[in-house]
């Protein structure tokens, strides 16, 4: 690769960097002020591309294209404002992260709405009027639109910087980022501020999406792609820092461009195709940055947020009525193979539900009482599944051995990643766990010789007698009950109290002699190991596994289950996992628009039960007792 080629790839990278910056900066602003992790940010970006496409093709010409981009930004900003007013405003007082569930539901709804309005096909917009051609540079052709985009990033950065530094609105935004309660106490209208910041963030996402209309087709999958990119950029740059976001965008885009430029490089003994690294480059960058600089490149330690949610009630040992009903449920489940003789599918569904329960309970163990919101719990599920499957594939291990190995492999991974992760807290911890999960995913995906690459491992079927649905169901049931009870037991052991103390006040816990980091590290490892059990069971239940088992979608599903049931209760994850798994199963069959339906149901649940399902039941019971 010549120096000119390298320079030119660096120039290429700048235009991609601008694209990343536009989508990330809005997310960063929103998070800084309202502490909301807006999962629907990528959906707003996607809407931007679609709306701009409609302007560019229906109005047409320079006005349709350039005017359309501005109009799109305004429209998406309005949509964002509406989302804030109609939905988010109602749940600011819910437990932290609950807003994540609401915005996740929005992702589902917006995706289906887009499908209904614009149809399934990719829509490729026209080239930008006035910037159709290419500029000759270093003996190569650089599209003039790329040049324009590359320059637009810094321009927007400067404008935003001026707004934040010089205007009253900017001062309020910066103040809210630092201490929003104080701002409220000083008499600032927070409602208006939150709405306008959310609208501004949404408008920036829409603007970013609209600008892509000349470079890539509007596509229904861009919502999650853009979201993933935006998260990485925001975290690498430092939450709330717009200059950091630009810096991070440039670094990530340049690393990718140069990986592509290098192509296959021969190192004598082996050769490495760098272009394959683009799958994981951004997550490698993120992991390195977070390990070296825990708050991102230009971020500062998060000020302790005095939560506006109601204080969490301490967990209590099970009441006698709960124990009794749990025993009844267990007995019913034991008898399910006979009860379900006429509809054998119930058992298949039952196995899925139980696996989901183990997964959700293990995630809840660290996310609830541990206060560590892992966004990458699928990594341990996947390590367990792959550990078991590969042992069968390469060593011909029996199912028993593989199922023992599954939690051990997951435990090993969780010990390793947990050591780094527990050093952080809040959203940074969430993002580092996500980064590790993505790295595991990419490794599994790329290491074809060992893992089978995108095909995964197939033909992992349980031997007799477990090849029958009823015996496998019992096996799963025993392991699920064991997992739930032992994690519960741990929470009421001194270890559990130490963990909760560390969550509620790290400082005070340290002062009475608890090594908070070590306790949280161990908790992380235990949760990982239990997640591995679920993974191992999953591999044998499906007979095959593939990299999707580790993908971010499963991590998010896990969080949704925990939040849906109620993160502050111990039965919450069990109920949440059951409801979510059954809902997904039934809703997917009901309608073509199952995503929107599922999203709508979650939205209803979110608005009706801000404490999760179990939280709502407990409040009802509490009210009945009080009266």
């Amino acid at each position: 690769m010549t120096l000119n080629a390298l320079l030119f790839q660096a120039l290429n990278g700048l235009s991609s960097a601008s694209g990343l910056f536009f989508v990330a900066v809005g997310l960063s602003l929103i998070f800084g002020v309202s502490r909301i992790i807006n999962i629907a940010h990528g959906s707003l970006y996607m809407l931007g591309t679609y709306i701009a496409y409609s302007f560019a093709t229906h109005v047409g010409g320079g006005l349709g294209f350039w005017g359309g981009i501005v109009a799109t930004a305004v429209l998406v900003g309005l949509i964002g404002g509406l989302i804030e007013i109609l939905l988010l405003r109602r749940i600011y007082r819910a437990p932290e992260l609950f807003q994540l569930l609401a915005t996740f539901a929005l992702v589902l709804v917006i995706n289906d709405a887009t499908l209904a309005i614009w149809g399934p096909e990719d829509l490729f917009g026209p080239r930008a009027p006035g910037l159709r051609g290419a500029v000759e540079l270093l003996g190569r052709h650089l599209p003039s639109y790329d040049l324009f985009l590359g320059a637009l990033g810094p321009v927007v950065l400067v404008i935003l910087h001026m707004i934040l530094a010089r205007t009253r609105f900017g001062r309020l935004v910066r103040a809210a980022t630092q201490d929003r309660e104080m701002l409220g106490a000083l008499g600032v209208n927070q409602t208006l501020l939150f709405t306008s910041v959310f609208a501004l963030g949404a408008a920036l996402a829409g603007f970013g999406g609209a600008l892509q209309v000349a470079r890539e087709p509007a596509n229904l999958a861009t919502d999650l792609t853009a979201l993933g990119d935006a998260f990485v950029v925001v975290v690498v740059g430092g939450m709330g820092s717009i200059t950091g976001a630009y810096l991070a965008a440039v670094i990530i885009a340049e690393v990718k461009a140069i990986c592509i430029g290098l192509g296959t490089v021969d190192f004598g003994l082996f050769s490495l195709n760098f272009s394959k690294l683009t799958l994981v480059a951004e997550f490698l960058v993120m992991a390195v940055v977070l390990i070296a600089r825990p708050y991102g490149l230009l971020g500062r330690a998060q000020a302790t947020v005095r939560t506006i949610a109601e204080p969490e009630e301490p967990i209590r040992p099970a009441s006698s009525s709960l124990t009794a009903s749990a025993a009844v449920v267990f007995a019913l489940l034991l008898a399910l193979p006979w009860l379900a003789r006429s509809s054998p599918y119930l058992l298949v569904l039952g196995i899925d539900v139980l696996i989901a329960v183990i997964f959700a309970v293990s995630l809840h163990f660290i996310a609830g009482p541990g206060g560590m919101h892992s966004f990458g719990h699928a990594a341990y599920f996947g390590l367990g599944a792959y550990g078991a499957a590969l042992l069968v594939k390469w060593c011909g291990a029996t199912m028993g051995l593989a199922l023992i190995a599954a939690p051990l492999v997951a435990l090993f991974g969780a010990l390793m990643f947990g050591w780094f992760s527990v050093r952080l807290s809040g959203v940074y911890l969430a993002m580092l766990t996500l980064a590790f999960a993505q790295i595991v995913w990419a490794t599994v995906f790329q290491w074809e010789a060992l893992t089978g690459g995108s095909n995964g491992v197939i033909g992992i079927w349980p031997p007799p007698p477990f090849d029958q649905a009823n015996t496998y169901f019992w096996l799963t049931l025993v392991l699920a009950v064991g997992a739930v009870l032992s994690l519960r037991r741990l929470l009421f052991a001194p270890f559990g109290y130490a963990m909760r103390a560390g969550r509620d006040s790290a400082l005070r816990a340290e002062a009475i002699g608890i090594d908070v980091k070590r306790v949280h590290w161990l908790a992380f490892a235990i949760a990982g190991a239990v997640g591995g059990v679920a993974g191992g069971l999953f591999a044998f239940a499906k007979g095959s596994i593939s990299p999707e088992t580790i993908h971010v979608g499963r991590s998010i599903d896990g969080l949704v289950m925990v939040l849906l049931g109620g993160i502050q209760t111990l039965t919450g994850p069990v109920v949440g996992a059951t409801v979510f798994a059954v809902l997904q199963d039934t809703v997917m069959r009901q309608t073509e628009y199952w995503r929107a339906l599922l999203g709508g149901i979650i939205l209803l649940l979110v608005l009706a039960f801000p404490g999760g399902i179990v939280g709502a039941v407990m409040r009802l019971v509490g009210k009945a007792r009080a009266s």
């Binding site: 690769m1 096909e121 490729f124 690459g453 995108s454 095909n455 007979g543 095959s544 999707e548």
Partner: protein, 403 residues
Amino acid sequence: MRPMHHWLRRVLVGACAAAVAASASAQQTIKIGDLSSYKAFPAFLDPYRKGWEMAVDEINSKGGVLGKKLEVIARDDGANPGEAVRVAEELVTREGVAMLTGTFLSNVGLAVANFAGQKKVVFLASEPLTDKITWENGNKYTFRLRASTYMQVAMLMPATVEAHKKRWALVYPNFEYGQAAAAAFKKLLKEKQPDVEFVTEQATPLGKVDAGAVAQAIDDAKPDGIFNVLFGGDLAKFVREGNTRGIFKNRTVVSLLSGEPEYLDPLKDEAPVGWIVTGYPWDKIKTKEHLAFVTAYQKRFNDYPRLGAVVGYVTMKSVAAAIAKAKSTDADHLAAAFKGLKLDGPFGPFYFRAIDHQSTMGAYVGKIALENGRGTMVDFSYVDGASVMPSDSEVRKLRPATD
């Protein structure tokens, strides 16, 4: 007590009625379970659904099969193997389907094929292209309709060899399909043209190609020819960047699937003229069978067929033919019936090979051209799938003896 009792009785009566109705309909229809990534890849699978709907109606209007109507129960496979296996189990255990069809992605198809082998259910993999479904991981109960990755690459080989270019660049999506296509291309070309050099390989993440950088890297490697496996949105981005940067000028480009309307039409007037592609020039195939298919399709849906429509249509036609031949819906009889099953589809006659369960339905190979501001294929010809298969002894080496 009384209202409760009343309520309970109503439920019981309702349940009995439903059970009776269900068993009655079970006697009148033969259920087929189709699972595909309808949500994730609608551009291909929407026409696919329309295609099989049309086939089912045609079959049922002529009295169905074995005196019963065909009923398709379609489900989304969630575009991932774990979900697909769950859906397959649901179709088999709850719906009681006679056999399974569908799937789109190669890895999903493989997982369902493995499930079919394990649970002894016949599975006709309609879309997934990976060679492994019929070769390395082939099993007694799994059959495949579309021309495999190997076949599609082999179809392009004559034109590639004829171009006689020395330096080749490869660009492909980094998953089973892309990797397999790239490997097959390198192997086949090296056999025919031993002095060939592969100067760069770009393996891009599916759906996320950084088109500008990739196009530039290919240009910098100074190839004489480019082999492309990108499709969908990736293809559109790559073509636009490549056109703007002039990287296709004076180079031979050979490309898989790019002539299919699903992928060609979104490019509109930027369709890359001169690319040698496999595809489906739906408006130019004038055979009798195909004209009949297009007319019926356009009349019914007021839209033109994409390749997915042909695949969906032929899938259910194959299913009906196999059941009729087996005179039963028993899995072993059905599997036996599929072997050597002969059919006439919109592309003409084809059959399911007994040796590896691969159908010989071929594809059209030609060059992309621009007509009336949109892409189309010219100088094309139909390549029969049977003509590009490796020899039987080679296939036997690739496929484990499963039956």
